[in-house]
């Protein structure tokens, strides 16, 4: 038997077994797609799906994003029941804090739009915010907004839940198996792996911050870049913090998990990274900035101990919006990346519509708004349709 004859034949190969890739595979299988393989160079929850803060919010600044996240939050709310796995979801809401009048004006506009979408967000005063979270020092803030139906989840069970549900529907999940080259053979793709070639009619690249590398293998190019983002976790405390708190100007956020730990992050200035390497080392500079920020925000936290810090890559596109659809110049090769730190919360809904699209159903409007081709065909006017609620 030749190596060619031993190649695994599939209809759809998904590269990246993060929440996005697995959710797409699961939704495809649920819609009748057969012969799906999901490939990942590492183990489940190794990449950004296992490293994010687990925030799931519906407070956005465009109607499309608000409605998408309303749908995604609904999927999350039923996930445990449907997938038979505990996802530790807690709907304590999201509290956004604004330091300047310009930021307060943005929140005001966004709240109006969110209310028009039936989201119960309220624009509130700093004093109201302090009533919600008495530990806050609200003196630097001029306004706030609060939506009680936003949530925090534990990210890992979403990855396992989608993986198991996909596997039950016949999806083959091959972890620890990197794709090392991608070639074309007629209309098919041949993915080289250490375990032999895999032939696929269509490829979905859901490799997050690693997507540009995968796209290059396929002979295309993607404009997104990896940006290191760090998070810390404290010792567990008695439940005291109801909402996720986010300071929109510094990008600092924190929430209390159902395990009692405070989990939060803040962005450092973007570091020079000309080769666009994915960097996941932990830095003392982050701990210092986060500790200072947290103590200013909640002075009582000074004696709380940090037990762990880690880093993961934001996958950032030039205009902050995701990149979806066919990779320009490579028909049959689909991308879903550039979510800029929001890919986890958007995955449940994006994957549902992505699978429908791949099964030939009319595309959701995000396929037009986020088309990857906007950067290659000159159709992306700078700043148009820019989402304002990109935090962190």
């Amino acid at each position: 038997m030749t190596a060619e004859a031993a190649a695994q034949q599939t209809e759809v190969a998904v590269i990246g077994a993060g929440v996005m890739g697995l959710a797409i595979a699961y939704n495809l299988a649920a819609r009748g797609q057969r012969r799906i393989v999901v490939l990942d160079a590492h183990h489940l929850a190794w990449g950004a799906s296992g490293r994010n803060g687990g925030g799931v919010r519906q407070q956005w600044s465009t109607e499309m994003n608000i409605r998408l996240m309303q749908e995604s939050t609904e999927i999350c709310a039923h996930f445990a029941e449907q997938m038979r796995i505990n996802v530790w979801m807690r709907r304590g809401g999201y509290l956004f804090l604004a330091r300047t009048q310009a930021a307060a004006d943005r929140l005001t506009r966004n709240v109006e739009l969110q209310n028009a979408c039936d989201l119960p967000t309220r624009l509130i005063t700093p004093a109201d915010a302090q009533e919600l979270v008495p530990e806050l020092d609200v003196s630097p803030f001029v306004a706030a907004c609060y939506n009680p139906t936003d949530a925090v989840v534990f990210p890992w069970p979403f990855v396992w839940g989608y993986a198991r549900a996909a596997a039950r529907r016949g999806v083959q999940i091959r972890t620890g198996l990197p794709v090392t080259a991608i070639d074309r053979r007629g209309d098919d793709f041949v993915l080289a792996t250490p375990a032999g070639p895999i032939v696929a009619g269509r490829v979905v690249c859901a490799a997050g911050a690693w997507s540009p590398v995968v796209a290059r293998m396929a002979g295309g190019a993607l404009p997104d870049r990896p940006v290191r983002h760090e998070i810390l976790s404290t010792e567990p405390l008695k439940p005291f913090l109801k909402p996720m708190v986010s300071d929109i100007e510094t990008g600092l956020y924190l929430s209390q998990s159902l395990r009692g730990e405070l989990v939060g992050g803040v962005s450092l200035p973007e570091e020079p990274n000309p080769d666009r390497e994915v960097r996941m080392g932990s830095r003392l500079a982050f701990l210092t900035r986060m500790a200072r920020g947290l103590i200013k925000l909640m002075p009582r936290l000074g004696s709380v101990k940090v037990v762990r810090q880690w880093a993961g890559p934001y996958d950032v596109s030039p205009d902050g919006n995701p990149l979806v659809g066919e990779l320009p110049g490579v028909p049959g090769f689909y991308v879903v990346c550039g979510f800029g730190g929001h890919g986890f919360m958007m995955a449940p809904v994006v994957a549902r519509h992505y699978a429908a699209f791949l099964r030939g159903e009319p595309p959701h409007p995000f396929f037009e708004a986020w088309r990857a081709s906007r950067f290659t065909d000159g159709s992306a006017p700078p700043g148009a349709g820019r989402e304002e609620m990109i935090i962190g």
């Binding site: 183990h43 489940l44 929850a45 190794w46 296992g50 890992w156 396992w160 976790s233 404290t234 010792e235 395990r259 932990s282 003392l284 500079a285 701990l287 210092t288 900035r289 986060m290 500790a291 200072r292 947290l294 103590i295 936290l301 000074g302 004696s303 709380v304 101990k305 940090v306 037990v307 762990r308 810090q309 880690w310």
Partner: protein, 90 residues
Amino acid sequence: MSRKVILCRCEDVTLADVQHAVKLGHANVEEVKRYTGFGTGPCQGKECLREVACAIAAAAGRPALEMTPFTARPPLVPTELSVLAGSETE
């Protein structure tokens, strides 16, 4: 018996929990850490990593020497935010 053997005292992870995780296909230290939460408490695995690694190897039928530890995360010991805020590095 294994239901009552606690391997990770910070997070109450038992030998049975580790065996169950291996049975579900989580066959290395990093994956079992994520599935059971072992090593994520105040000691960050300093007390239990060796025991859990041996338990994974035994449950998976592999030599213990094949097990590699999970990525060590700073800080070295639980550290107060007020101490970190005083660092010169930002």
